[in-house]
């Protein structure tokens, strides 16, 4: 059954087209990721789905209901973690959760919500004293309080430390396991890969890749870069680089470890050093550079795909 349907969605703010003709659907119990850089239109899409803004064109349905016309009904079945929303700064964590428990029907017990989000130790702390990551966790606690059928998460782990991020991923996975439909936006490739069974990549208000293609792109998250030694030309390298930026050879590949080992062995045999060697996971920004390069038809990218 389709839990979320977006068909031909358009949304303008004044002259600015925030979302242009976006379509996707999410099945019940599925985790779907909208991936994109800042300003890609992810938040606007999510806010339309949550009934905060009416679409200019297109159809949007959540559990078969119109989020604007049936706003109250939709909100009762949804948990929403907004990217930006305030808290009452002088209330403690416990007071905030208690107040919110009054606002929803059949809420989770306060301790359960705080335990799930790792905030038990902060129960008596005033919200103004929480760190950015802790506020994010409180946000999540409020979103899951009503045991929603559909959960909208707008960049849920921004500002969290690695441990809190992993914990949040576990919470999301558990909820999805229990049948909650999750639509999350993120600019972390890793987050989308770890959580989502399907994803769409948005840029400038449009879906630029979705389904299998998006997964393929997101899989190319390895990045190896180093300065070309002395008189070595890119053609002499054992692996053809994805691109050469000045004297820096850059590889974008699925398995950066293997590529780095091959390159280091090759350099060792020749007594060369790979200055500025960098082996890391690519960012969404790297991915978009790739996409842009593809659009330009630069031949180097053909090699990258072979390596991948």
């Amino acid at each position: 059954m389709t839990a979320i349907l977006v068909d031909g969605l358009r949304k303008h703010y004044g002259d600015f087209a925030a979302v242009r003709d976006v379509s996707f659907d999410v099945s019940q119990g599925e985790v779907f990721a909208l991936l994109g850089r800042n300003g890609a239109g992810k938040t606007t899409t999510l806010e339309v789905l949550a009934g905060f803004a009416a679409p200019d064109a297109g159809t949007v349905r959540v559990l078969g209901l119109d989020p604007v016309k049936d706003r109250t009904e939709v909100r009762r079945s949804c948990g929403i973690m907004l990217q930006e929303a305030g808290f009452f700064p002088d209330l403690t964590v416990a007071q905030t959760v208690d107040a919110w428990r009054d606002f929803v029907a059949a809420p989770r017990p306060r301790d359960e919500a705080l335990e799930m989000t790792g905030l038990t130790a902060k129960t008596g702390t005033k919200v103004r004293q929480l760190s950015g990551g802790e506020k994010r966790r409180l946000d999540l606690a409020l979103a899951i309080l009503s045991r929603p059928d559909v959960l909208f998460l707008d960049e849920p782990t921004t500002g969290m430390d690695p441990e809190a991020r992993r914990n949040t991923w576990d919470v999301i996975r558990d909820l999805a396991g229990q049948g909650t439909t999750v639509l999350l936006t993120t600019h972390y490739l890793e987050e989308a890969q770890r959580l989502a069974s399907r994803m769409a990549i948005m840029d400038h208000g449009e879906v630029v890749a979705s389904g299998g293609m998006a997964e393929t792109l997101a899989a190319q998250t390895g990045r190896v870069a180093f300065e070309l030694p002395g008189a070595v030309t890119p053609e002499e390298l054992p692996l053809p680089p994805s691109s050469v930026e000045g004297r820096t050879a850059v590889y974008r590949i699925a398995d950066p470890d293997l590529a780095a080992r091959t390159l280091l062995n090759w350099a060792g045999e020749r007594g060369l050093r790979l200055h500025g060697l960098e082996v890391r996971t690519a960012t969404l920004e790297d991915l978009f550079l790739d996409l842009a390069a593809d659009a330009d038809g630069r031949p180097e990218n053909e090699h990258a795909k072979e390596v991948a």
């Binding site: 109250t72 929403i80 907004l82 929303a85 305030g86 808290f87 606002f103």
Partner: protein, 256 residues
Amino acid sequence: MAARDLVTVARFDARLFWRDRTALGTSVTLFLVLGVGLPVMMDRLQPGRPEFVAAQHVGILSMLLVLATFGQAATTLTTRREQLLLKRLRATGLADRDILGGGILNLVLQNTLLTAVVSVALYALTSLPVPRDPLLFLVAVVAGAAVLCLLGTAFTPLIPRPELAGVMAMPFFLLAGVGAGGFGPLTEMLPGWVSTLLGLLPTDAIADIARIAYAADGTFGGDLAAAAGPALKLAVWAAIGFFALTRWFRWDPRKQ
């Protein structure tokens, strides 16, 4: 469900209100000090003239209601809009009308209570008698507070920042004071057309109904007939407020 939600929000708003020192300073302390203080002073200056005390009481009350309902609603809602708290409240299952209605309900109850405290203090401390028609006086306060809250809510789209809410509500406070007699019988010194214009203010309607309730003579039927005009004026203001609210109210700092 809606009535329950309305009460839940009102209770939540009350809890936040009594923690807010700025709100307590203006909407409670000032209300009590001026509401009791000025009529007591009038009574000391002109002893044995309860009609002067009543006029002062009714005038200052209309004026203070602007501060504690119109001004308070405008300040609270602008702050909540800018701090993205309205957006947060809207993300719950609460209906929009309950979020705003709960806030209004709380302010109406609080101000009715504050008015009761001020009135009882004046009955004890001055020559002011208990109103001949206490029910009508209650209606003036409750309906007046509700309409002013609605107007304060509808006024928020014009307020760009929370810091400006107080300043922007001030002219209405002063106009109410001049029109309803909070500063004394100033309208007698003003050109007739000014008095006519000031007479259109909702605070004038509140003061008019309250004056009917305090008038020495009258019958129940006569009171109702006399209050019909000001009541209609309040109803028109309520309709204006409601229309503006549904049309222009902003939940989000970002303009849609």
